[in-house]
Symmetry: C2
Subunit: 195 residues, 2 copies
């Protein structure tokens, strides 16, 4: 006979703790969230929390890594590496919005980072690398004559980034499957196209 099935204790894995923590970080703000807040939200004590994560900053780093991994995965997609600059650009914008929605809380946290700690500076630099890749494609597309130079390509890239990233301000997970298409259309065919 096997020993009787052990009753599964409602134990927290590191994954679910991260999920809870990121939720708290977003609603309260990272700096305003205490380890006490996180523990209460997870239903364990502060000390137990420290058994799973070295501290507050370790939680933030894990969350930022997840967001950045999702973003950079888009750049490794076949459609992001083949075709005309504009086609690659549109593919990336589409994929970026997909990641934004799929990893909404993690990317939201990433986009709020201002670079005050070592962890935040690291995340900020990886973000800049991603943005620089996109800005390079915008410039290529202008030089190839695929898009007109209505404004300076560097400015266009910044506004494109601002438009796309602003999705996290109001998006809700799961809703609106057509969002990547809609945002790409707005970015490439104009937000307010003249009649």
């Amino acid at each position: 006979m096997n020993s009787p099935a052990r009753v599964r204790r409602p134990s927290h894995g590191p994954g679910s703790l991260l999920e809870v923590a990121v939720g708290e970080f977003i609603t309260r703000g990272y700096d305003a969230t205490s380890m006490e807040d996180l523990s209460r939200a997870a239903g364990i004590t502060k000390s137990s929390f420290y058994h799973h994560f070295a501290g507050k900053e370790a939680l933030l780093r894990a969350a930022l890594e997840r967001a950045l991994d999702g973003l950079f995965a888009v750049l490794d997609t076949p459609g992001a590496r083949t075709g005309s600059p504009v086609a690659r650009l549109r593919h990336i914008v589409h994929g970026q919005v997909e990641v934004l929605v799929r990893e909404l809380p993690y990317v939201t946290l990433l986009l709020r980072v201002r670079g005050n700690t070592e962890t935040e500076r690291w995340a900020l630099e990886r973000r800049r690398t991603f943005d620089a890749h996109v800005a390079g494609l915008v410039r290529e597309a202008v030089e190839a004559g695929e898009i007109r130079a209505g404004v300076d390509p560097a400015l266009a890239a910044r506004l494109l980034s601002g438009l796309v990233n602003s999705v996290v301000e109001w998006a809700r997970p799961g809703r609106s499957a057509s969002l990547p298409d809609d945002v790409a259309r707005a970015a490439f065919e104009g937000i307010l196209p003249a009649s």
Copy 2:
């Protein structure tokens, strides 16, 4: 004879203290900035700071009021109240970017507000009122047939807001006098207009 000119003591008025405080709030983040930090940056003690402002939140409120007053002043401009919906919209976007640059630190602070205190919820609601005004104009312009409905008007308004507000992420005060024109052109004629 007049009495000899009194030597002006290097006293801080509430205005200059607010300026210093907003600078600290932006670089450190509001929650991560202590009254000690503010006092040190202003060159006075913590207690002296409390003589001018009731506390941290009073400073935040004063800063948010300044940003919101600047934004709403744009809606009272003649060009924002006369002409076609699209013309009014373009006038507002232009003026919004002007305010963004002129009141850069104050608006930056406003756009980071998430609504965790009473003061922040008040600011967030006034911001929403401003955005709702713009969204209404977008809808009017679509219904009047002035712009095509490439995407849902509500989505277009949100992306427009995201594009415009993202200027605070990289703008520097004083630089680039053509920015309001450039951003308006990008918003109305497309960021990446096809050749």
